[in-house]
Subunit: 237 residues, 6 copies
């Protein structure tokens, strides 16, 4: 049976909306199954259980607004993801890929947050083009404001998108979902403020031929060119 | 009116088949319009007019085998492309993009052949995401045996594919088309021999989950994720 | 005699404002001499003389708003800069550096516009750390919307700023100056629209600890660390 | 006493043959001492002891076919190498370098297998140009099918060889040795199938002027140019 | 209250002098507060307590010669820094940044010494442009002889300075301070010998327009251009 | 007939000595044929014929000291090399490679001097691994003080050597040869002063395990590992 649907691997609650909320909403609106796997949680030892519960509740509200069909939480403690044995973290994420069998996977870019790096590594192993991974048509890394751009320029990898999705029709829905994360989103000029998120979308979009965009770094695509052509899909937008 | 079809910008006759013959055959078999724009020709001052005619005839035979719908030749003299004023070369290629209005464009990787570099530059200008370029969903650079891998490692850009197309069903057709280029294709172990081309396809394919592949470097994609998942949905329009 | 002041080397009218208008206004407000050298002009053969005159007039108005002290125009024809013999272009720019003797030089990033590349090359030669160049404390390349981000990702150099200037106090002045370029600045969602320029400034700023910023790529700095700490010391001379 | 001979640091049994079997066979045929240090083993907790014994037996058979003079096994558990304290792993590998005192060292490229990365790091420390390391004339990283090419393009380092060894005379011996690893080598189109290994060798060779090659990334060479010249070695091939 | 002064984060005793002694002496001579945070120590398990005490005493003598105002030691065991939980190492370094509130921070380049990498990572987190970090005007990585240049060329990041400080007036003081580290500094041609350090300074300096220099890789600068200009600081050199 | 000997492609008189004088002297002392091809000349229009004659005479004296067996001069005007049609420059350099049939080729790194870039490009074409090029065992780019390190950091390629030759026994001879270039070599702290050249050699050497070194960037090596091993060459150092 062939793979289908979108899987977004989010390090912490809010990353999926911050980075890919517009794309998620587009896919959901098109009737595709969308799964969000949130790997780490704002839980003890660094956070209280109350904060944990709040962020999960915020995530569920945000996912509802975006039209997510399946929300999964691995509940590893934030900032301690890299202390897990590699084989165990890899195994946990691989099990989800095996079960969901997605066509498109979005994972974090390996940036300044140590959890993002550990989860990027695990996602890379879980999506290798063998077994369930062979059915993935597109694997891409997303841009997370206030972490991705804090990598050291020209020492660590620096995000430059090679894929920008037109989210002009879903940007307001994305910002509405983001506003659910009251515990995470600061006021302007905070680096993850609503204004900053809108500005990034406008920057990515206007450099790509439209108003608002979300940028991604394609890691591996195996889709055939004929899928992308309008001629095969009469009436497709 | 929205863009549609595939445009391959080939520096010289045989590059389109060598680099993307399997992908071209896939698209043609799917009923898509495929245009090949061959920019330079093996013509005077470096080649005789007889060689010129022979290579054009070989190209037309190869294109026929692959199912190409439109073959265009700009007829600039090989190895002298970079002597053209930049504005003129850009204009000539932009005019074709404007007329064809493709969804997917494949251009040469900027490698050791000076013509490939000049044509890469011109293609980058002609496909900017404005005007006709805004309708292009995917722009990618292709791999040309015996030029792409002669770039200086770690000084010049080195080809690493982020898109591999499964050409298992069209690899034999590609090699049949390539064999038309009797004037260009040497015997094994020549760097563009039939055996070398098959070996590269097997290497790219087996590292991507299938038997034979063609590798590309995606420069800009604006396709939405739902196109990739939608096309695989049962009953998708 | 030691160098002093800021020199901005703009490929075409509007680039200086688009890329560095906020920084220019900051320096001018601090009483520093600011020179803009505009290298190319929208003139024949690609443009009419009327357009040429209009863009120069627009530039002079914009420079006035920003507080520029010296506006120089080399008047090379746009898109034909790279057809100049290298020695002549280098000489023309070096002569300006020799005369102005700046402390800080801002030049274009080598991006998708062929003129930007040729002028980057010439600026690199003119600012070598010998002769007048030895007095330059900081050389940096600027970001030009709708050209810098059209370089091919991961093939050509991709802009990542290592210097962001807080232009929160001058962003409105910058946008006012930019609005003078009626012939160059399109409506939103155009890639050089006022909205796009504001969005980029907000993105750069919020990732750097403030509201609005202009990003640069530092090429060579020879300032001593005590200048940076000394200037902030209470009672510093 | 000066160093001599070849040391190959293999992460797991089969990597040495997969990546460098042809080069090993060339050196062995020339009468040079060749040591294979296999660092990790397919052992508990991830594998059974029976698998462990089988892979060691397969390695010994393969080494015999290639003409290896010394086979050493560190027996760290696979996928758990990076859990070792860095000082201990470094010490274990450095001790071998100290004892073998090789002239040429081949180590894994830091790729998608976490063990490969940890062993690359340890090898880099063990071969620093001090002490026994000062006698090493050439240190290079090898290419391991189905791991090296699964690094994320343009985020992680991507393998591009700057050294290709002509293994036309030993390719069949290499494939014969590889066939010993019945537990590791899948059927075509498996990414480590015999056919895939032959295809890579043909691709590397034909782009370098011969039929079959093995590619390496030179990390540090201190050999003098006069060693490479034919004039000093009458009768050398 | 605004930040002021220089903070140098040294992995081990001697790194601060080796890499930045001339710059430290310049700042101290200008009357600026200079803090050295030495993170790791040559202590058990790899070193005896006697060695530990000796290196601390050497460091204090060297700091005295350079004019350092504050010497802090975190006393983590050398080569075991990366075994610390990430959150704890980050917290320890962040606490110092919070207390010192520097304007300029110098940290190690992520090179061949595993401690340097762990401390680079922690320094990057501690200096993010939020909270106390928002007051930092300049963050740069320094060059440590016999570790920085042992990174694998073109696989790991390779040091190329974009900031060179003229230390012609303080090079002799730097070498005098370095000579205090009798336990660490070998005789020529040792890679950290006095002669090697002088040679590097002469190389960096002469390529930048002066006699002796110290090279740095700027990671993030937020200083405004007007700080760098002579016009604002009458009498400044 | 197999290739033999060393070919150094120098852009201008003095580059061969500045960059590779120690290596040239080592090869010459070992009895190998060494050819220097000097491509450009300090001649009209930028220089007088008297300067031209002086630099050629200086080159011949320097070559004599180093033991060069064959000195060839192409006599293209300096700074105008890139104005030559590409096919002609390529042809002129390829003809020399064809005639000399070297085993090792050293060419300029593509740095801040436009002539160096044009000659690098032509050398890359002339040494492709076909025809006479297939006999070249090693192609490497050399480091030219005061041009190579003036490339823009992290925008243009930055020199990091992966091959360092121990020139401890020939450094004095190199400096003696360099001193012949009275018209080209400035006093300290000039960027090409004798002191700067010695400092670079000491820096490269001490980081590689010896006193003085010359660094190169290996572009393509096809030598077999057995050539490098001492065991095959009894009595070899």
């Amino acid at each position: 049976m062939s793979n289908q649907g979108l899987l977004v691997i989010a390090p912490h609650p809010d990353d999926e909306t911050l980075a890919a909320g517009g794309t998620i909403a587009l896919c959901a609106a098109a009737g595709l199954p969308v799964t969000i796997l949130t790997v780490a949680a704002h839980m003890p030892p660094l956070y209280s259980e109350a904060v944990h519960q709040q962020t999960v509740a915020e995530a569920r509200r945000a996912h509802g607004i975006l039209g997510v069909t399946d929300s999964q939480f691995l509940d590893l403690p934030a900032v301690y993801v890299s202390e897990q044995p590699v084989a165990e973290l890899n195994g946990a994420i691989a099990a989800v890929v095996e079960k969901v069998r997605p066509t498109v996977v979005l994972c974090p870019y390996p940036d300044r947050h140590v959890d993002h790096r550990a989860i990027f590594d695990a996602a890379m192993v879980a999506t290798r083009p063998v077994g369930a991974g062979a059915g993935i048509k597109l694997l891409a890394a997303f841009e997370t404001l206030s972490e991705t751009h804090w990598n050291a320029p020209h020492i660590e990898p620096n995000f430059t998108p090679n894929w920008v999705v037109d989210v002009t029709t879903t940007i307001e829905r994305k910002l509405e979902a983001l506003a659910c994360y009251e515990s995470q989103i600061p006021a302007f000029p905070g680096p993850r403020s609503i204004e900053a998120v809108r500005a990034l979308a406008m920057f990515r979009g206007t450099q790509s031929g439209f108003a608002y965009g979300e940028g991604f770094h394609i890691i591996r695509m195996t889709a055939s060119a004929d899928i992308l052509t309008g001629a095969l899909r009469p009436g497709a937008s």
